[in-house]
């Protein structure tokens, strides 16, 4: 008889081809022009769930739909696992430096290149194929399973947050599994136990009523591009600390024990330089590079523009300058408190020669921290040993998954963040990719996890 692992191996090629179909759908959630593509991706997933034997539905929301699928044929006292993922992706266009069309998957050097390959379509797909492998070989699953796949992870997760708050019953489970994080190397799996939160802003600076001739008025007008620069420069101190008064007040300090564990991580400045291509590390000097990347809050300029930046020159004093800014938060920092402090600080540092406005773009997400000692974490360790062939490390992750803090607080679920990707997969950048063997090891690890978690509860 074929085992689930063998089934997954025999069907590896087909799994890849199916994933390509999903990757071709331009489900960019941050740009409303792609709303029909998000709908298409949701329908594709629902159809796929049904095809492999789950009950599935596309749940409309005020923006991009959710996909819900379940299989509840396990024994009455069986554990229920909730799997979360997202089908939406970051914007991408080939002229940003992609070697190929970001929405036409290409396989070479053992990788699948496409927007969403690692974040997060490829990783969700590993769990779907794990369920298929179990159902096809054993006719049933050792646990009940529920999938909740959203389409707004890259743009605030507003609707899934509402849905989770209103449908706690439907989502009742004993553990939540999320694969939207990274491992430290192909051979070394990682379980993430902390995520940073996020709150996003747009800072606008207005000067003259319209663009002015820089010859006629230059020297008599505070240039908004310059004023914006002066204000942004005032957001960090020279040592890289955020200058907003009160910004660090609620930060949960890293325990001595955890600092020790982090210090043992093989990640160092050399690896950092190779991954980023930057010349020198930067940031708070009293924290290691690893700590800066996950355990400390940040304020980051994601985009900035003013005046004319096309071909040639345009001799103007721009009337308006703006920046897109996000803060990453750590445990115990509250997004609305940070928004309040930032707003006040911007008011304080705005010179009288310009007007400013700080828009808060979403209600934000708090950081998450999960207990490493929980039994589900132990099951996850065994799953990695069997599925990946290595014991996982525990690590903090600097990114944010808006819904995770809600799964923890509103549904009361322990969260297991089993990432199957790498930080160097260029998620959010050009040439995003997913290692093909990591897809297949991910499928096996997911199979093993469902089996191990069943044993924990029984």
């Amino acid at each position: 008889m074929t085992t689930p692992f063998e089934f997954a191996e025999h069907n590896a090629k087909r799994f890849q081809t199916e994933l390509h179909d999903l990757l071709r759908i331009k489900s960019i959630s941050t740009d409303t022009n792609y709303a029909p593509d998000c709908q298409r991706a949701a329908e594709w997933l629902a159809d796929h769930f049904q095809a492999i034997g789950l009950k599935a539905e596309v749940i409309p929301t005020s923006r991009h739909p959710l996909v819900y699928a379940e299989w509840t044929g396990a024994d009455a006292d069986a554990t229920t696992v909730l799997v979360y993922g997202h089908y939406d992706v970051q914007p991408a266009s080939q002229d940003e430096g992609w070697d190929s069309d970001p929405f036409e998957p290409v396989e070479h050097d053992g990788k699948i290149y496409a927007r969403g390959s690692t974040d997060d379509k490829g990783q969700v797909f590993a769990h779907i194929k794990a369920v298929e492998s179990l159902l096809q070989t054993e006719g049933k699953l050792p646990v009940n399973i529920k999938f909740l796949i959203e389409g707004e992870e890259e743009s605030g997760s507003e609707n899934i947050i509402k849905f989770v708050a209103e449908h706690a019953d439907k989502l009742r489970a004993e553990v939540c599994v999320i694969s939207d994080t990274s491992m430290s190397s192909k051979e070394q799996p990682v379980i993430v136990y902390a995520l940073r939160g996020i709150v996003a802003f747009e800072l606008h600076v207005y000067g003259p009523a319209h663009d002015l001739h820089s010859g006629m008025y230059g020297g008599s007008i505070h240039n908004p591009a310059q004023a914006l620069a002066e204000m942004i420069a005032a957001l960090h101190a020279e040592d890289g600390k955020v200058s907003i008064p009160g910004f660090y007040d609620d930060v949960r300090e890293i325990s001595a024990q955890e600092r020790e564990a982090i210090a043992k991580s093989p990640y160092d400045n050399v690896q950092w330089a190779a991954d980023t291509g930057a010349t020198l590390p930067w940031g708070e000097p009293d924290y290691s590079i690893r700590e800066r990347m996950g355990a400390r809050p940040t304020l980051e300029i994601n985009g900035m523009a003013s005046g004319y930046w096309g071909n040639g020159l345009k001799a103007i004093i721009p009337s308006h300058a703006w920046a897109k800014i996000t803060c990453r938060l750590v445990a115990d920092q509250k997004p609305d408190r940070i928004a309040e402090l930032f707003t006040k600080y911007i008011t304080d540092i705005t010179p009288p020669t310009v007007r400013s406005e700080l828009k808060v773009l979403s209600s934000g997400t708090s950081a998450t921290q999960v207990n490493i000692e929980a039994p589900v974490m132990q099951a996850a360790i065994r799953a990695y040993v069997r599925g990946w062939g290595a014991e996982p490390l525990f690590r903090r992750e600097g990114g944010s998954i808006p819904i995770v803090s809600d799964f923890q607080t509103k549904l009361g679920l322990p969260i297991v963040m089993m990432g199957f990707g790498l930080n160097s997969d260029n998620l959010h950048g050009p040439n995003e990719h997913f290692h093909i063997d990591m897809l297949h090891k991910g499928i096996k690890t997911s199979i093993a996890f469902l089996q191990e978690i069943a044993r924990v509860s029984s």
């Binding site: 505070h222 980023t276 950048g429």
Partner: protein, 457 residues
């Protein structure tokens, strides 16, 4: 009233229609995509010039730059003086999304106003000067020989025309060069510009990480190039609005009391217009200088554009790999463009954090500033021209803009005067640029009167 003035009055509608026709051609010289429109504008002008009795040709410029139009008329005879008229037919970029109320290349006439890109900068001058010449030639009353020079790349650096003038001085040599560009201080107050600031421009590129990074994974450990750019820009001025670059003011010629007195003349207009046009929340700049001195007699460093990271709708949690700023400096006598570029870029290199790689691109040394003697016969004829057109004597002004050609023509022609017929509130370079029909008319009259007066001096 002279015959020429009478002719002008009778043909006003025809002149206006010429102006509207030229405004419909989007002769944007800063963007190569408009090259064909520049050529169309040049051919249109050559036709018009020939029709009124001038010889005219569009001269192709090297390296695919836009054609220059050269015209002449020698009917006044070898003993008569020669007057050169310069203006430019190219315009700044404009798209309706920049905040235009109507298509920038479909002129809209409303009361006394014409709204269109180039209405004020500088097609009003091209057409009013041609109208004045037509009036003089058609009435056989032109007392001077004529040279016409219409440039097609004033808004994009104007480098090749300088080279042409240096190589062919005989084709543009004249007793006076009239630079017809820029504006007077108010619709009912003519002003005679005797100073122009120079300009240099460059781009500053910062590079941090080799590619855009996920701001969650890497944020806190990588110096963000957008942030680094703001750190650099914020150090380029001190809190008083002075440029912070060492040596920046070393070559600046200081203002004497007599000139400061003359410059007070147009302060009332400048100040009232400043508030109307800019609507800026509060004034800014060097507190030891009047508004006229700040914009006319003091150098600047201006950020014309910045760009980094994601600028589309919504947000993208990216840590950008690079950041760009376009910067220009306006220069005053006796600042040397090379010295300024050298000191500014050197200073920026010094303050660039070690986490960044920096490069300077598209460095354009532009032109130095220009200061003209206020008491030459040509300048007096210009004053007389304005007095005729507006019924009011002009005040004297140092304009803040840069007209590179003035510098080149000063080497070839005995005198240079600057006669603008538009006004500073015309929104040059911005959205809803406009000009006044009444001033178009007054400009034609002033241009005719200037030629009559200059011929007699």
């Amino acid at each position: 009233m002279t015959d020429a003035h009478r002719y002008a009055a009778q043909n006003y509608e025809h002149f206006k229609n010429n102006w509207l026709e030229l405004l419909r051609i989007p002769s944007v010289s800063t963007d190569p995509a408009f090259a064909a429109d520049l050529r169309r504008a040049a051919e249109w002008l050559v036709e018009k010039m020939k029709a009124i009795g001038l010889t005219a040709e569009a001269i192709d410029m090297p390296e695919g730059r836009h054609p220059m139009i050269l015209g002449s008329w020698d009917g006044a005879g070898p003993d008569a003086k020669t007057v050169l008229i310069y203006s430019h037919y190219d315009v700044q970029p404009a798209v309706i999304e920049d905040g235009w109320k109507s298509d920038p290349f479909e002129p809209v006439e409303q009361d006394d106003f014409i709204y269109a890109r180039g209405a004020t900068d500088s097609k009003i001058h091209v057409i009013s000067q041609l109208s004045a010449i037509e009036s003089l030639l058609k009435t056989n009353t032109c007392p001077v020989n004529l040279r016409i020079l219409f440039e097609g790349e004033e808004e994009s650096g104007g480098e090749t025309i300088g080279a042409f003038i240096t190589q062919h001085p005989e084709r543009v040599k004249a007793d006076v060069a009239v630079i017809s560009d820029g504006g007077i201080v108010a619709p009912d107050q003519p002003s005679l510009c005797y100073g122009l600031r120079g300009i240099v421009t460059f781009e500053m590129h910062l590079e941090g990480p080799k590619r855009d990074l996920h701001s969650g994974h890497w944020g806190g450990s990588v110096h963000n190039p957008a942030q680094a750019l703001t750190e650099i820009i914020s150090q380029l001025h001190d809190s008083e609005g002075q440029v912070n670059v060492p040596g920046f003011y070393d070559q600046v010629r200081s203002l004497d009391n007599a000139e400061r007195e003359v410059m007070k003349g147009n302060l009332p207009w400048l100040q009232s217009e400043y508030q109307d046009v800019t609507a800026a929340p509060a004034p800014w700049g060097e507190s030891d200088y009047t508004l006229h001195e700040k914009v006319g007699a003091r150098p600047t460093l201006e950020v014309n554009g910045i760009s980094s990271g994601y600028t589309g709708p919504g947000f993208k949690t990216v840590l950008p790999s690079r950041a760009l700023a376009k910067i220009s400096c306006r220069l005053v006598p006796d600042q040397d463009p090379r010295v300024i570029i050298q000191s500014v870029t050197e200073y920026i290199r010094q303050i660039t954090p070690r986490t960044m790689r920096i490069s300077f691109e598209n460095i354009d040394y532009g032109r130095p500033a220009l200061l003209l003697d206020r008491n030459t016969p040509a300048m007096r004829a210009a004053a007389e021209g304005y007095t005729h057109g507006w019924g009011k004597e002009p005040i004297y002004e140092r304009a803040g803009g840069s007209v590179p050609i003035a510098y080149d023509l000063k080497d070839v022609c005995d005198n240079v005067v600057i006669m603008g017929f538009s006004y500073r509130g015309g929104g040059a370079h911005g959205p809803n640029e406009h000009a006044r029909l009444s001033m178009f008319r007054q400009g034609i009259d002033a241009a005719i009167a200037f030629i009559h007066t200059f011929a007699k001096q």
